[in-house]
Symmetry: C2
Subunit: 138 residues, 2 copies
């Protein structure tokens, strides 16, 4: 495994991967739009991801993701989805609350805590259904 990415670079990598799976091609501008940043910022970020061998690309080149990049992206997305599920299914948060929090926390939660959240969500859903959601008032 390579060195740890910053939260920001993880966001860019995640965007590249997500767009790629939907479209079979990524343009830098799609990434800019998804992340609400300038084209210039995207260019810089893509350069850094390429230096780290997580994506392939050069000036005016098509963008593709390397196997290591894909693995890293999938990890972040897994964290995102696990957190989102926990926030919405277990805690009963709205979709947008669950999304917003997952987007930020995915970058900093440890693997240990994440594993526990995943296991807990599974266990909770199996054993307690939505006991809590029925009780919680806010």
């Amino acid at each position: 495994m390579g060195e740890k990415l910053t939260s920001s670079l993880e966001d860019y990598l995640e965007a590249v991967y997500t767009i790629l799976t939907k479209n079979n091609a990524v343009k830098a501008i799609d990434v800019s739009r998804m992340l609400n940043v300038s084209r210039a910022s995207t260019t810089e970020a893509l350069k850094k991801l390429a230096e780290k061998k997580l994506i392939n690309y050069g000036r005016y080149d098509a963008i593709s993701i390397t196997p290591e990049g894909e693995a890293a992206a999938k990890e972040v997305i897994k964290k995102h989805n696990s957190l989102h599920e926990f926030f919405s299914c277990v805690l009963g948060a709205s979709d947008s609350e669950a999304q917003d929090n997952a987007c930020k926390i995915e970058h900093i939660v440890s693997n240990d805590i994440l594993k526990r959240i995943v296991a807990f969500t599974k266990y909770y859903k199996k054993n307690f259904g939505d006991d809590f959601k029925n009780i919680y008032r806010s």
Copy 2:
């Protein structure tokens, strides 16, 4: 309520408050040591907190916390403690895992999600004790 603090400034404010409650006095160097940053970085951060009226101090002055500063610090600490309790009591994480994750997540978790975590922890402890801890293996 004032403008939102950065994660970093929240850490400094939290440190000031924590040391103050333990010692009845804070020195910048205590903050430096608690956060593992240089004295220079602490000076800068304290200046910013003072500009924002969260602490009182000037060059070579004693440091004290304002009512708004205290309120803000207590909020962060409450978030920290709530997250810590959830991670250790509900998820069964080690103390250091719980601390490390709480330290980072406290700055970004939303009030809505936090409220739900607090309510859930209470509910869980009352109704399920450590069912999950007895089941979870890792």
